[in-house]
Every structure is written in C-alpha cells, then in structure tokens.
C-alpha cells in the first residue's frame, strides 16, 4: 500500500502524520483519504500538486502510484 505523508498543515486536519492507502491511481488516493479524514476536502486536495516518489507533478489526476510509493501533497508552485 502506498504511504501518504501529510504536511504539517494537513496534519491539522488529519491528526496523523501519515497513512497507508490501497490505490493504484492518484485520484483514488484522494477519494480514499477524503473518506478517511472528514476534514480533508476532496476538491481542495485535487487542486494541490503532489510529489510521488520525489517527482513533483502539478496535475496528477491519473498518475499511477505503486504499492511502495511515497506521496506528499504540496502547494502548487508557479514562477516568474
């Protein structure tokens, strides 16, 4: 199962540092954890970027997640 590690900001909503999720695609992770933690808003999570195994992805909707993957939600970064 993929491990989802919550930022200090998200930990305020989950009360936990991390969880394990059985999902193969990013969108299913979001569904799973927003069901698991009622304070997490599904749509807001979908608007965040993500790092899957260190690779930062801005719109990860259909990104594949391996059973050994480490997933972090991030603020979307822009630039100048």
């Amino acid at each position: 199962m993929a491990i989802v590690i919550f930022s200090s900001e998200l930990q305020k909503l989950t009360g936990e540092e991390q969880t394990r999720v059985d999902a193969e695609v990013f969108k299913d992770i979001v569904t799973e954890i927003s069901n698991q933690y009622s304070a997490l808003e599904h749509d807001e999570l979908m608007e965040m970027a993500v790092a899957i195994d260190g690779e930062i992805i801005h719109t990860p909707f259909l990104e594949k997640v391996a059973a050994t993957s480490e997933v972090h939600f991030l603020y979307r970064i822009s630039g100048g």
């Binding site: 200090s8 608007e47 690779e55 930062i56 972090h72 970064i77 630039g79 100048g80």
Partner: protein, 749 residues
Amino acid sequence: MSEAQEFKYIGQRTIRPDGFDKVTGRAAYGADLTLPGMIWGKTLRSPHAHAKIISIDTSKAEAHPDVMSVATFEDFVTLQSESVAGTEGASGVLDVARNCLADDKVLYHGHAIAAIAARTERAAKDALDLIDVEYELLPSVMDVEDAMKEDSPVLHDDMFTAGYDEKPSKASNIATRVEMKMGDVDAGFAEADIIVEREFRTPTAHQGYIEPHACTVTYDENGQSMVWCCTQGHFDVRTLTAKVLGMELGKLKVIASEIGGGFGGKTVIYQEPVALVLSKKSGRPVKMVMDRDEVFIATGPTSAAKLKAKVGAKKDGTITAMQGWMAYEAGAFKGSPMVPGVMTMFTPYDCPNVLVEGFDVVVNKSKVAAYRAPGAPQAEYAAEMVVNELAEILGMDPIDLRLKNAAKEGTQTIYGPKLKRVGLVECLEAAKNSPHYQSAIPEGQGRGLASGFWFNIGGQSSVSINMNPDGTGTIVEGSPDIGGSRASMQMMAAEVLQIEPKNLKPIIADTENLPYSAGTGGSRTTFATGMAVIEASEKVVAQVKERAAAVWNVTAEQVEYADGVARNTAGEDSMTLAEVCKSAEKTGGQISGNANINARGAGPSFAVHLCDVAVDKETGKVDVTRYTAIQDAGKAIHPGYVEGQLQGGAVQGIGWALNEEYIYNSDGVMENPGFLDYRVPLASDLPMIETITVEVPNAFHPYGVRGVGETGIIPPLGAVGYAVGNAIDRKVEELPCSPPRVLALIQNG
C-alpha cells in the same frame, strides 16, 4: 537520462534565430501593431491610495468630439469569486477584474478607474480630465506591520484570515497564514551552542522590464475577437480576459508579440479586457500602451516583506534548528508569494528541525505579480544572512559551514518530499575553487556569499513540428520567447532529428494554432516545452523510419536513423531526412510530429553567488567590484544563454539589494515612478558578472535540463547585503543598501 550522453548540437553556442530581427528593429513588440481605423485607449487612474468611489460621471468625456468610447467596471460581466488556474497559480477572477478597473473602491495610487478611447493618443489622454470622480477618502495602510495591527484600516470587509483552526470573527488584512514544520525546533535550539537571530526587511521592487505593457485589440460581436499583446502567456491572457468579459474561448484569439522583458510581471492582465470593451463600444480596433509611470504605479512589483530568521548550531558547525517568520505584502488583493517563501527559506540546508510561519497581507499598493523565483529571494536573504553571521561567530569558512550542512540527495524538505539528486554541493565546491573565492579580499572592501534554491516547474506545453519537402522544418510552440528559448527548442529538435539547427525554424503560435500551453515562467520553458519538442521530434523520426521502410519493403524496426540519414539494416539502402521528406507525397503525405504534454519531474536548481563591494564611507555609495554566479543548470542546452540567465538574475538581484525600492509619501502616493528615480543597475555600474555553470543532470528530463531563469535572483540579496555589512563592519538588516541607508548605518551603528 545517462550522464554519459554525447551530444551533437546540445551544448553549442548557436546564433539565436530571432536575433537578426531584434537587432535590426524588425521584431514586432506589443506597441508595434497598427490596424486600419485604429483608435487609442488611455486609463484614468486613482490619485489616492485608498478611497470609496461615490460616483463616476463620464458624460463630459463621452460628449468630446474625438472620444469614441468609455469603459468602467460596469462594462465587465457580473463576476463571481471564481478561481482560474494559470501558469502563475490560481487567480481570483473578481480580483483580476477589480484590478483592471476599480469597482466601488480604489485600493492604491494608480488603480485604474475608467478608460477612454479616442481618435488620437493625445485626445484620449486629454479627455481623461473630463471624467468626474467623487471620492470618499479612507485611511491608507502602506506597510505590512501596520496592516497586521488589530486596529488597522481594513481593505476588504469580506476577507477573513485563512489558515487558523477557527475562522476569525473579524475581517482582517491578513489573507492567509501558513505554517510548515518538521522535527522539533525547540529541542533543536536547546541542542545548539550558538544561536543567531535577526529581523530583516526587503522593499517593494519592480521587475524593471524595458517594454511597457501594450496591446492592440479588435472586438467582433459575431466572429473572432483578437488581442495582440506582450505577454509571457497568451493562453492565460485568453482565459482571464474571456472570463472577465464572459466570452467563449473560441471567439478570442490572443497573439503574443515579441516581448521586451517580463520576469514574471507579464503573466497577468491589465489593459486587455478594457481595450476589448472600448473596441466593442466604438466598433474600432483599440491600442493601449502604458506610460512608464503607469508601469510602476499600476502593475505588479514583488512583495515588500518583513522577516525573522533564527539558526542554531553546535560548535562544530552542525546546524540543529532553523526558524523563520515572514509577512509578505500582497498589494491591494490577496496572493503574495509568501507560500514559496515559506517553502524555500531553509531548503539549502539539511536540518532536521525547521519551523517557518508566513502571512499574506494586503496593503494599499498595486497588486504584486511574480518576479523571478517569486517569494524566494526575500526569505532566503534572511536565512543566508544569519547563516553567514553564524559562520563568522564560529570562525568557520562560510562555504565550509554550508558544505557541512548542505542539502543533497535524500535531504528531507519542509514542503514534503526528500530531494532527488541536486547540485548544491557541486556549486559550493565550484565556488570554493573559483578564482574569485581564491583571491584575497581587496583592501577596504567586503565580501559576501549566499546560496539559493528554487523548485523549477513543469506544466502544459504543446508543440508541433512540421517538415518541409526539402528536409527543413518548422517548430511551432506555444511558449513566448523571453530569454532565447527559440534557440533551445531548435537545438533540442536538431539533436533528435540530427540536422543542423538552422534548418529548423521555431515560431510562437497564437492561441488558435496550438492547444493550450502554459506561459513562459518558472524556468519551465526549456524544460517542459523542450520535452514536448523532443517528443514531437521523436515522432518525426518514427515516421521517417516508417516511410523509408515502406520504400525498401522492410519493417520500421529494420531502419536505423543517425546523422540525419535513415539506413536499411537489412540491405545497403539509405535516404537522408531531406530525401524522405521529398518523397513524403508518395509515401503517405507530409511528415509532422506533435506533442501535447503536462511535464512533470522539474529538477530543483541551486546556486551560490560571491560578491565583493567597495563602500564610499563619506557618501554611503556601494560599488560591486567583483561578482561570480555559480548555478546548477542540469544540462546547459545553450551555454551562452544559460550564462545570460545567470548574469541577468544576478544583476536584478544586485539592483534589488542596492538601490531599487518604491518610495511613497505620507498619502500613499508613489514618488519615484520612473527609471531616473527608481534606480536599476546599468551596465556601467557593474563589473562583468563571472559565471560558472554546474551540470548535475535532472534524471526526469531526457537531456538532464533543470531550468535556470529563477534561481539566479535569489542569492544576490544575501551576498550583497553581507558584503556591504562586511565592508562597513555593520549588520545589514534592511534592503536596499542605498547610500542614505548605508551612510546612516556607518554613522549610527
């Protein structure tokens, strides 16, 4: 990617394909399009920093014989507080519209209130005086600390601070609070033998692009409206303008002109929807060009900030804890780059205990816009200053202290993932071995150094490569070329196609000719659009193999392609790319490849800068006497343009550190809206910026590219600030180090 890659064209210093047009004056910029029947638009701007608009009477202006249309906020569609995604993150459409033309309040000196289109530019300007605006003046708040006070005048009655567990009961100028942490900072500081803690301030600073914002538009009720403008992202201009005006995307074409600098400042809209309203009401094409003072007072500079930085370390230099606090001015509407400031502040350091708190605060200044590595220079300035001071107290070489604590592969970041392979250690070692660092500090001068980190980004890019029957081709891309990216695209396509770069012509398509492409910003273009170019080129090569295979009655797998020649591995046949393209008519039609991607895997870039300064102790004037910029590019596609980016970032950062700042009077009116009084560094002010390009490849890019446009502006604030302090034996806590401020430091201690 393999580090052992050998390249035929990548890494050369080719002539930029747009260079001839630019140096001969043929290139068409934002103000260069003139259409039949075109009239001129001009904007009435607020003389006040904060006021209610009681009424706007445009009747006298409308009666003027040369005036053909007038626009106010009422001409925009009724908008909701909707967020629209773009290259620069999400934009609140209502705020964007209210920034283009004020609704019921003016929120800063220069805020647009109404616009007039007239037969001539002069007539439009003169007719602005015929618009009567009745104001009710409100107290203004010009400083982030004042804005955060409980009793501060509030800009937006409906803004409640986000980021607290409980929604506040009272409206506030603080839009958002963010806190990121890892480890236990209290324990980390308890473990420290030495703690350094200081407060810092950075000024409002503008990108200082040479070309003012300009557009020419035509509105067509039935068909195709058009915007020609200088922008970093014409697809985003289309999205936002269409939203503000309630138009379908398919009925608005946006063409990106050549662009005379942007640096993040041309990622938003100001005049475009206003000009379309004026065009719609007059039935004429409308041109709007900002004057220089309008650029300063009404477009987005970067945030002024107040910051606190604290670092704790053991006597051997091991950093045990880092803590930061920052409040960034957003200008009149929320949305400062505070969050990336929080994320980047201490990222160059591998420290287990970190806590950073940030605030996004509105004030009565123009809404900030992105500026190279938005948010990072301010935050990392504070961090680098305390790290330099720590080295001084420890008696350690500042590079050795950084090497001991440097972020590297596996370092946990405060924003989430562990770093993949990065090049900070390599940059520090290059700095240490550089001729500059090896040289003695000249008598009476000061030396400073600082490191910098920026994420870099990917995002959506669309590319089409169309081959001609003679084997030449066109690279059609959607990313405006600000810093020489046409040349990079040409070289990457040439590398795949194995033909001379000059045989491929890169062009920037308008919004009708390609699918969406995110804007040029965030150091994304050579990385992301480059990936699309590589993919499209590979599709061309695949077709070339198929066509040759069909001619030779073999399979495509039996065809090799190298040096621009397809070879039959099952026989002796060969065809050049030009020959395959020439025969394409007979083998299935012309050859092209396209790629519409959403690039991921952007590689962070680290930099280290060295700076020597001489300070005139009688006047406080600072002269940079030597400067070296070292940065990890991943892979320098065109080394010359990478060096140019490093030098450009350094010069802009030096200007920010030394002289650039918005100066307001007690009424909140900007007093220096021009290049005579807003002092950017000139070529004659600076020595040649020495550069060292480090290449630690980004594993997620086929050629290892990281992107280089952003990071270079981060270290100068700390490097210059520390050098000045070193030269005058004072601690520099406030930028810029302008002569009056430096003189006061010398005299007052």
